[in-house]
Amino acid sequence: MLDRDKGEHLPNLRPDRRPPHPSWLPRQRRGTTPQMIGRYPDFDVLDAVDTWDPATKKVVLARLEPAGPLRFFGPEEEPALRALCDVTTAQDREPRVPVAELVDAKLADGELDGFQYADMPDDRDTWHLVLAGLDHSARDRYARSFARCTVEEQQDVVRDLSQGALSGGTWDSLNVRRAWSVCMRAILAGFYSHPWAWNEIGFGGPAYPRGYMRTGPTSVLEPFETPGATAEDAAQAVADNPEVFG
């Protein structure tokens, strides 16, 4: 068992800078998290939905509606899009935050970020070129499309994408490192805009008109928030403390 207090789960503090397998995490007992894992097994941000103002409620709850269908990306792009969203957010099974649909909606609605690198096309074109590039690199290395590669193979391609180390095909018309940042901006904004992701990380969520009162130093927990799980082994604690647990 990893000691959360010592930060043994933090990639930078681990010998290989790789994260531990998520099996060290507790299963979610309340509400939904992506893949039903998280650090706050008894927290559901949606329990506080009655304290949100109507405008916020409308915007946030819309993300829980059934997602799709895709409007911006074509059917031929869908497998690579889903594979890229899954591998960059480590979503390997249901329940998933519908990152592909959230990205698609943003691009279909023309919700761009207000800047375009001089050596890059429009963000919308960048997305098309990246998905084509992923298939190009996957075929080049593994003789199959990006979506049909194993997760490890996909991770290898994405690692090179993140370091700007892909070339050939559509990559040659892109600044690859910047293309990575364009895609990740949209993917992360999609994933961490979703209440399930807030449950996973224990984020208190929208706070108007309620506000926060417990900002420290006696406590940082609101009445509706719950503490994170600890490394304590429940069975061991019972065995060690018979006077407490009888």
Partner: protein
């Protein structure tokens, strides 16, 4: 310390009733339905482009003097109860997301990072920090051999700093740095996350103080007290955080200012004598052009849109853009280095509670050549919400399972940022790109390249913040290199060969055209720019009202050599 400020909140500002005009039960800017409407064919006294920090203050001040003022604003007239949300992704509409091209060796990301659009401008989504510039900022060239000297001095802005601080109102501890001063409201409580940073700074002998923030802490007319919900960057639905939307525009509308929102200014029109006759604007893409006639024109579109509008306003007299005879328009645009460093502790801190701006230090603001570079930086706490935190984690090189692991650890982290004074350089500039926007107008291109002094400053400041976190016992540290704020791009100076406007912010070569925003600043210090932009507009208004801003006396236009005001540390 002013006697007024000793009274801490019990003596309000004069000549601005905005705080009483607001409705306690609604976030709506009062007076929209009864707003004055001027016929565009009638010449008003002043047309202002941009309803942000500069334009709103200028309009409010002059309207109180009886001027008939129209503000042309590209973005929407906000209705915060309906339009603003307590949510990161849902706040996309607050930012200037129309296209802009970014180039140079260190391109600066725009949009949500530093650009606003709509009534209230980018102060609608600024964090809330409102520090003053230091007296030294007005003479960096004479003092340190870098940047430029202003044609005005700290003393010229001082009464306006004090007035605007009362209007926002600014809450904070007595300020020991620069020109020592106090604030009209007491400091806010400090959260546990900021407490970590403070303890680390104390261990390293670095002085930190609470504030200064333009956030109500106590009774201020109908503006409520802050509720510590942490969504300052998403628009304050509470009306506790200052922006012109609540601090100046209510009073402006009550004094017959018209805000024409959703209108994109496309050029300034000149008559054959070279005077500006008004501003041409478009209500919709492909629609007809409108011309609002005015005796005076003030542009307050900030460091990218102001140069863009000047460069787009070509004529026989100004073939390369208005006021651009000497190729100065768009040059010397600046941003601040804004690297953020986060530290991890075993206990939960939940940094998302409380406004992101809590405590700051200006111990490193002034030049100390032993550090190996000129000028300096400030240190300020920040507290990214989940999407911002994800970008922070990504910047440290984590994605996939590693990113999820760091994200799940969100509640254990506290974040401290810096603002590096990056130096004004002629090749850091705004030009017109070949692309056009939905109105068919050429979009702006902003090129940015750091100089060696900038790089040394950024590198040094990151070691300081990392050291603070380590001294406070941080187990792990994650760093994101980024930039914030905009300033310059149409600077004020003593001669048309090296500046765009004179000491009265009046365009060289056009007698009735003023710039009323942050684009006029020749240097930026390590201070967040909002307060200074408002103070400059306040000063400009006073000088336009008494006519001194229209002076053609060469010495008045060139300004006076900066008087020396001692900095605290000297």
């Amino acid at each position: 310390m002013s006697v007024r400020n000793l009274l801490k909140g019990s003596a309000g500002p004069t000549d601005n009733d905005s705080r009483f005009l607001l409705d306690v039960h609604s976030r709506q800017l009062p007076g929209e339905s009864t707003m004055s409407r001027y016929d565009e064919s009638v010449e008003v006294d002043l047309v202002v482009v941009g309803a942000g920090a500069g334009g709103s203050v200028l309009a409010q001040r002059l309207a109180r003097r009886g001027w008939r003022v129209v503000i042309i604003e590209a973005g929407p007239f906000w209705h915060p109860d309906d339009d603003w949300v307590s949510d990161e992704a849902g706040s996309h509409g607050l930012y200037w997301t129309q296209n802009r091209i970014i180039g140079g060796s260190d391109p600066i990301e725009l949009g949500k990072n530093n650009s606003g659009r709509g009534v209230g401008g980018s102060m609608v989504h600024y964090a809330g920090y409102t520090p003053r510039f230091h007296p030294s900022d007005f003479a960096t060239f004479s003092r340190d051999g870098v940047g430029a000297d202003w044609p005005i001095s700290y003393d010229d802005l001082l009464p306006h700093y004090e007035q605007v601080e009362r209007e926002l109102p600014v809450a904070g501890q007595n300020w020991p740095w620069g020109h020592p001063h106090s604030y009209p409201f007491s400091p806010h409580p400090v959260s546990e996350a900021a407490g970590k940073v403070w303890r680390g700074a104390r261990a390293r002998g670095i002085e930190m103080r609470v504030g200064p923030v333009g956030i109500v802490n106590g009774t201020f007319g109908n503006r409520p007290h802050c509720i510590y919900r942490g969504y300052c960057l998403q628009g304050c639905k509470v009306n506790a955080k200052a922006s012109p939307y609540v601090t100046h525009l209510p009073d402006a509308l009550a004094h017959a200012v018209e805000i024409r929102s959703g209108c994109m200014a496309s050029r300034v029109e000149l008559d054959e004598r070279g005077r500006a006759t008004g501003v041409v604007y478009l209500e919709e893409a492909g629609g007809p052009e409108h011309l609002q006639r005015a005796a005076f024109v003030a542009i307050a579109g900030y460091s990218i849109e102001t140069p863009r509008l000047l460069l787009s306003s070509t004529s026989r007299r100004f073939p390369d853009g208005l006021g651009n005879d000497h190729d100065q328009v768009g040059r010397y645009v600046m941003v601040q280095g804004a690297t953020q460093t986060a530290g991890r502790w075993p206990e939960e801190l939940r940094m998302y509670k409380s406004p992101p701006p809590e405590i700051s230090s200006e111990d490193f603001y002034e030049t100390d050549l032993s550090r190996g570079f000129a000028r300096g930086f400030s240190i300020q706490t920040v507290s990214p919400l989940p999407i911002g935190w994800a970008e922070h984690v990504l910047a440290d090189g984590h994605w996939g399972a590693a990113l999820r692991e760091y994200m799940r650890d969100y509640n254990h982290w506290a974040t401290v940022g810096v603002l590096n004074e990056l130096l004004a350089q002629p090749e850091n500039r705004v030009t017109l790109a070949s692309q056009t926007d939905q109105y068919g107008l050429p979009v702006a291109r902003m090129d940015y390249t750091l100089c060696d002094n900038d790089k040394a400053n950024i590198a040094y400041s990151t070691t300081v913040t990392t050291d603070i976190l380590k001294a406070a016992g941080a187990q792990d540290v994650l760093t994101i290199k980024r930039f914030a704020h905009l300033i310059g791009g149409a600077r004020m100076g003593s001669s048309p060969a090296s500046s765009v406007v004179d000491a009265n912010q009046r365009l060289w070569g056009v007698p009735n055209l003023f710039l009323a925003d942050g684009s006029v600043c020749p240097t930026q210090g390590s201070a967040n720019p909002a307060l200074t932009i408002m103070a400059l507009a306040s000063r400009l208004a006073a000088r336009m009202a008494d006519g001194s801003a229209m002076s053609d006396d060469p010495e008045a236009r060139a300004g006076r050599p900066p008087r020396q005001v001692a900095n605290a540390q000297e």
